[in-house]
Amino acid sequence: MMSAVSMPIGEATIGPFFPGAYVDAGANDLTRWQGRSAQGQLIDIRGRVTEDEGVPLQNVVLEIWQADANGIYRHPADPRAKHADADFFGWGRAATDADGAFHFRTIMPGRTHLPNGTLRAPHINVVVLASGLMRQLQTVMFFEGNAANATDAVLACVHPAAFQEALIAKADGPRKYRFDIRLCGADETPFFED
């Protein structure tokens, strides 16, 4: 029965009633897992999600996926997976509050190795799910001040280059970063095909 190829099922909005219970307490804290602490530099990431004209959006679900402090993914497709930090899961979820604000606590990801010998800049993949978004939105967060941003293969896809700034989380105090997500409008965040 392996011959038939089917298309992925149609996506749909999460609607206004995504259960609050699904944003488990602590799901936005990637630094702690099963009672143990991840290796690496702890960072706080805060931001706001807004729709057109800068209106803040409550009840938006954000999920993130990232490599550990050494740039290794906890997944068998990563050739270095057996060296992944056993205390870092790499995935988290947060929801926005009435001001559209969200918060993740995580560790600064390392540079992931690609089989062709190049390295990605430290980055975090982000998916946005919300009422009124018929399909998920995919974006990527980079970090201000990292020289590797200039050579990242994904960041380089953002044209004109001025739009790349919107994907770079801004330093906002020691070990703190600010990353706002603007879904729609002249200053909107660049999003990628999913």
Binding site: V5, G15, H75
Partner: protein, 246 residues
């Protein structure tokens, strides 16, 4: 696990791509009559990026991070929810039909009266003290889950363009890589509201729309105290293939 390894084995992981979505098989992003879609959908085209390990890996074993729940949403005896008891047999497959074992599935739905047990649902319909309407279950070794629940009621979407949502169940599924993440809705066969629903009909391809509608199992074939529905969720990911250019 062989699927993901195949994705990058001995190749340049930054030269992979996935087949483009066939026109009409995914919902249009802006839906007339659903004004929030226009205010939240990016105005610029989505960017095509090279696929790297970041997209071709993803969270596995999510039960280690998210607490699983009982697959019995309807409850038992005196604590049983009101409404028509149903069993949902959900199959999670990749694009070649291979089962996705051990992946997390989240579901949520309205009660039999069309009301969500959610603070944002201010509809007049009554809550059911015995129905929360959500579950989080991992697929078994065959990529399947079975959820015992009640048939959700229809409910109106408030606003100037008020319309009624047909009975539906929301599903959130991961699959094995970041790009296989999908949030979808399952509809019930034969409901007249299906033809009017703005969300279901945002998928313009009729065949793709039909794949959002569950199959009713003949009652003779499913004895028991519940009506049985089967539904398949196909996640993308396996057909990620190397590009010739790069």
């Amino acid at each position: 696990m062989s699927i993901q390894v195949d994705l990058v084995k001995g190749a340049k992981a930054d030269t992979y791509t996935i087949p483009p979505i066939v026109d009409g098989t995914q919902p249009t992003r802006i839906v007339e009559g659903y004004p929030q879609t226009a205010r939240r959908t990016p105005s610029r085209p989505l960017l095509r990026r090279p696929l790297t390990l970041s997209e071709l890996t993803g969270p596995l074993d999510l039960s280690g991070r998210l607490a699983a729940t009982s697959a019995d949403v309807a409850g038992q005896s005196a604590r049983r929810a009101l409404g028509q008891l149903i069993v949902l047999r959900l199959a999670v497959r990749d694009e070649d039909g291979s089962p996705i074992a051990g992946t997390m599935v989240e579901m949520w739905q309205a009660n039999a009266a069309g009301r969500y047990a959610h603070p944002n649902d201010s509809d007049h319909a009554p809550l059911d003290p015995h129905f929360q309407g959500n579950a989080r279950v991992q697929t078994d070794a065959s990529g399947n889950i079975e959820i015992r629940t009640i048939k959700p009621g229809a409910y109106p979407v408030p606003g100037p363009d008020r319309w009624w949502r047909p009975p539906h169940v929301h599903f959130s599924v991961w699959g094995k890589v970041w790009l296989s993440r999908v949030v979808t809705q399952m509809f019930f066969p034969g409901d007249p509201l299906n033809e009017q629903d703005l969300i279901l009909n945002a998928v313009v391809d009729a065949e793709a729309r039909a794949r959002l509608v569950a199959r009713s199992v003949p009652t003779q074939a499913a004895p028991g105290d519940a009506l049985v529905f089967e539904h398949t969720v196909v996640v993308r990911g396996k057909r990620a293939t190397p590009t010739e250019h790069a």
